[in-house]
């Protein structure tokens, strides 16, 4: 009988014996009970924790670990320095003014002009309205309202509805309405980072068909006055037609001169968007290249009689498609704002001028809707890779849009897991500076440098093809790279400025830690100091700012006619995240893990998925320890070695006492002589040999001639020989196969005596004392060696 009680980590108490064999048995309380040492090796299974984006088939996911994706808004830093030129300063260009007449002059080319104002009311003065939303001429002006995002009417003081009259080619009134204009200063906006949405709708009723039809569309503004086109010019007088809302602009000296169709009171607004300045990339996600944009502005600056024109000549050299000023955006992902509203990645989308395509898919990629503005495709099947999808192009599902903000309204119940693939054209208002990709995933160099974007003006009659350039400035404040190599007609300064100081500390100093070393009762506190030194050469360049830019102090070369460069921005890319930004989603908890429709497959693939709360029992599943327990037992407990138990019985007992999930590996140890033939079995004898097993071991030799009955051959125990044992059985019959094995008898000191001396303790051993030699036992025998004996 064996009783296992697993201890803590090590130590297994084993009591064995059956009394009849001379060994103690617990069932016989008066018999001695022996405690023996056993070996229990516990080895936990080896789990490989793997980090990756793809889950191997044999793995069980533990958690999703991620940080928030980088984006240009968060990770890019802009120091806007474009206001160094007074004509481009935000304060200068952010106001508005009025004038009466038909001409106007300005340093700036991009301005807003209007002759429409709100109507004066007692509590509010008149206010110029610079934008208009155009409605059909058949719209009833009394039915026109602007609604906010909650579809509530906004104050009518904020806009003005006018039925604009129609003129014939001779400039005479026809008596009809050309269009209904909703003049306003409102703007639709959506911030995809914050989700902040400002949206306006225009609602109007059209009764021209006899049945009043009320329509609500997104506010879609355009400037009240625009730069004139050919149709605005009288072909006879070559002057502006008197009734158009357009102007002609020409540059003369350091001013832009605007000619208007009539002499009246106009209002002019200088918006912040008309300054020349650098802006963050249009596509700012982590996968896209981050190209800084520069607004396509223009202004003239007079310095001591020399006119400097600040403009972006390379704006027109961009890759327009199909023609200037449009660009093609294919396969863009629309941002779902609310049910039906989608923000396109670009502003100023050209939905009126060029076809656009919007394909709505569910999360499995199944096409649900194919929406287009292209009437020639209406009703045709949408195909992908030449394969029909069963979905047909539909022009009716795009109900309205705002081209300025790039927000469209689809007559579709959009779910948050839908994707909207958008292909469209947009009007480019910016010059995209593509010489530097600021995405640190593509260009790690940006993390170690500050980039200075600057504009080289055209002095006097000089002109060049490119005006925007950059410097790459190292952490030490020295210029490492300059793109202005003279290849576009501008002065070549690259070779002169590389290695020289930029001229301004351009980074946040890394502070000393200020900690102190506590050395018993002595300590030290450190205060970090940092300074830069830009040596002043006797002649030549001081630094970039002093040498070339408008920001140079008086008397430095930058203030002269050879310089006057305008620094637009100092651009940096920083790491914003730390360990607290790491997001961990434990997939083993409820709500994580495996999709319901994949559970069966998952269980087949890896049964351990039942440990997930969602898949296993609601109250949880026992979590197996999954250890392997190595139990080492003396082999003499086995019947085959003279013991009382079969191997299966031992295994069953052991399994009964180890924990669930623990796999027992039973290893028997003991004296097991390894016998072999000492020599060829000739001479009608059989010689065997076996190694020494210790001086407390004796051996008996048993043999059989094949009848299965083993007979001891030796007459007295054979004492172990430290140098090895041999034994020869002589007098055998040639041609007969004999079997032979060696039986060991061991005398060992073991066990704690718990039996009274009267029950057979060795002489000198007292009750409860540790026996130096309690007993001997018939140890394990060797394997049976069979050999045919020859003559």
């Amino acid at each position: 009988m064996i009783i296992f009680s697993l201890g803590h980590t090590f130590g297994v108490k084993v009591e064995f014996g059956d009394g009849a064999a001379g060994y103690p048995s617990p069932t016989k309380p008066d018999l001695p009970c022996m405690y023996i040492d056993t070996f229990q090796g516990i080895k936990k299974p080896i789990y490989t924790v793997r980090y990756g984006t793809v889950l191997p088939d044999d793995a069980v996911e533990l958690a999703y670990v991620s940080t928030s994706e980088i984006d240009a808004d968060t990770n890019m830093g802009f120091a806007d320095r474009s206001g160094a030129a007074p004509e481009n300063a935000a304060m200068f260009v952010s106001g508005e003014e009025s004038f009466t007449g038909d001409t106007y002059s300005s340093y700036l080319k991009n301005i807003l002009i209007t002759d429409v104002t709100t109507d004066a009311i007692p509590s509010q003065p008149i206010k110029p309205l610079y934008y208009k939303h155009v409605l059909p001429a058949t719209a009833d002006t009394e039915s026109v309202f602007i609604l906010d995002k909650n579809f509530s009417r906004i104050n009518t003081y904020l806009y003005k509805v006018v039925a604009e009259p129609e003129y014939d080619d001779d400039g005479n009134l026809t008596g009809d309405t050309d269009y209904v204009a909703v003049y306003n200063n409102l703007e639709n906006t959506f911030d995809d980072d914050t989700g902040l949405l400002t949206i306006y709708y225009v609602q109007y009723t059209d009764s021209s068909s006899g049945t009043p039809v009320t329509t609500t569309v997104l506010l879609n503004n355009s400037p009240v006055y625009r730069e004139a086109t050919f149709e605005d010019i009288d072909p006879v007088t070559l002057q502006l037609k008197s009734y158009v809302k357009a102007y002609i602009v020409k540059q003369s000296g350091n001013y832009y001169y605007f000619t208007l169709p009539q002499s009246k009171t106009y209002y002019v607004k200088f918006g912040d968007n008309i300054r020349i300045r650098a802006l963050p990339p249009a596509l700012d996600d982590g996968q896209s290249p981050w190209f800084v944009r520069v607004t396509n502005g223009s202004f003239v600056h007079n310095y001591l009689g020399t006119l400097f024109t600040y403009r972006i000549p390379e704006f027109r050299s961009q890759l327009f498609n199909p023609l200037y000023p449009y660009k093609f955006a294919a396969g863009q992902t629309g941002i779902l704002i609310t049910d039906g509203l989608v923000k396109l990645p670009h502003d100023n989308v050209a939905l009126d001028e060029w076809p656009a395509y919007f394909v709505v898919k569910d999360r499995s990629g199944t096409v649900l809707y194919a929406i287009t503005t292209d009437s020639s495709k209406d009703g045709q099947e949408y195909t992908e890779d030449g394969t029909g999808t069963g979905v047909y192009w539909d022009t009716s599902l795009l109900t309205s849009y705002d081209t300025n903000s790039g927000i469209i309204h689809l007559d579709v119940a959009l779910k948050d897991y839908y994707t909207i693939d958008c292909t469209y054209y947009y009007e480019e208002h910016y010059y995209e500076y593509t010489l530097v990709n600021f995405n640190p995933l593509n260009n790690p160099d940006v993390l170690d440098h500050i980039y200075v974007l600057y504009l080289v003006p055209e002095a006097g009659a000089a002109s060049h093809e490119a005006s925007i350039h950059h410097l790459k400035v190292g952490r030490d404040g020295l210029i490492k790279e300059c793109s202005q190599d003279g290849s576009n007609g501008e002065p070549d300064i690259a070779s002169s400025v590389i290695g020289l100081p930029y001229g301004r500390p351009i980074r946040i100093p890394v502070p000393g830690d200020g900690t102190q070393d506590d050395d018993g009762s002595s300590a030290m506190a450190a205060l970090g100091h940092e300074f830069m030194c830009y040596p002043q050469a006797a002649t030549g360049i001081q630094d970039f700012i002093k040498q070339y830019t408008l920001e140079a102090p008086a008397g430095y070369p930058g203030q002269t006619s050879t310089g006057r460069y305008l620094i637009l921005a100092e651009v940096s890319v920083v790491k914003h995240q730390d360990v607290t930004d790491v997001v961990i989603l434990d997939t083993r908890v409820r709500g994580g893990g495996i999709k319901e429709d994949m559970e069966s497959l998952a269980k087949q693939t890896n049964p351990e998925v039942i440990w997930y709360g969602d898949i296993g029992l609601g109250g949880g599943m026992p979590y197996p320890g999954k250890s392997a327990v190595i139990v080492k037992l003396p082999c003499y407990i086995l019947r085959e070695y003279g013991g009382n138990l079969e191997r299966d019985e031992v295994t069953e007992i052991v399994k009964r006492h180890v924990g669930f999930g623990h796999y027992p590996v039973i290893d028997y140890y003991g004296i097991t002589p390894e016998i072999s033939l000492a020599s060829a079995p000739t001479g009608e004898s059989l010689s065997i040999s076996w190694p020494s097993e210790g001086n407390n071991v004796t051996f008996d030799i048993y043999y059989t001639s094949g009848d299965g009955v083993f007979t001891k051959h030796n007459s007295s125990p054979i004492q172990d020989n430290a140098s090895g044992n041999t034994y020869t059985i002589s007098g055998l019959q040639a041609g007969v196969e004999y079997g032979v094995y060696v039986q060991a008898t061991v005398s060992v000191p073991f066990g704690l005596v718990t039996k009274k001396a009267a029950d057979g303790l060795p002489a000198g051993q007292g009750e409860g004392e540790f026996a130096s030699q309690f007993s001997s036992y018939t140890g394990p025998r060797s394997r049976i060696l069979y050999a045919v004996v020859m003559s």
């Binding site: 952490r475 404040g477 830690d513 200020g514 450190a526 205060l527 940092e530 300074f531 030194c533 002043q536």
Partner: protein
């Protein structure tokens, strides 16, 4: 209990861990900066000594922390009024700057805190001691030799070592 030092640009002001000097052109001397420090012990701290050492924080200069330190010491060796300069007579109305060079102002030969730098002490007391509640006021400045022709950013540590009883 550990006694902690607070550095500040003002007496009793917010703690600072670094001083940024901006650009100092060769031949120029930066405008002196006031530095205050005090401790939070309940007993006075003693053996207060000031010195400079290579920058111990994350180095972001143009050469190495050791090179910057060596350069600063060499500047002080070249002329007594160049390099990193320390004025401990802030509270007695005088302005006498000590130069950090290879023989003084280093870890092995530090400047002992003068009682003339302790606000309200009137010069009284034992040099090198700063009592609980007292504030030391020093001025520091940097002068770059006119012959310096290497552009770049330099960093170094100004240190106060002291003994305290807990």
């Amino acid at each position: 209990m550990t006694v902690n030092i607070t550095w500040s640009e003002n007496a009793g002001g917010s703690a600072i861990t670094s001083v940024s000097w901006g650009n100092i052109q060769n031949g120029d001397e930066a405008t002196a900066k006031d530095v205050y420090f005090w401790h939070d012990g309940t007993e006075k701290i003693t053996n207060c000594q000031l010195y400079i050492q290579p920058f111990s924080g994350t180095y972001n200069g143009s050469a190495s922390a050791q090179d910057d330190y060596n350069e600063l010491i060499a500047w002080g060796d070249g002329a007594s009024d160049e390099g990193f300069l320390l004025n401990q007579n802030t509270e007695n109305g005088s302005s006498s700057y000590q130069t950090h060079n290879s023989s003084q102002g280093t870890a092995s030969a530090p400047f002992t805190l003068s009682r003339n730098a302790v606000i309200g002490a009137g010069g009284a007391g034992t040099a090198g001691e700063l009592d609980a509640g007292e504030t030391a006021h020093i001025q520091v400045k940097i002068k770059v030799p006119s012959g310096e022709d290497t552009a770049g950013t330099r960093q170094f540590d100004q240190c106060l070592k002291y003994t305290y009883t807990s």
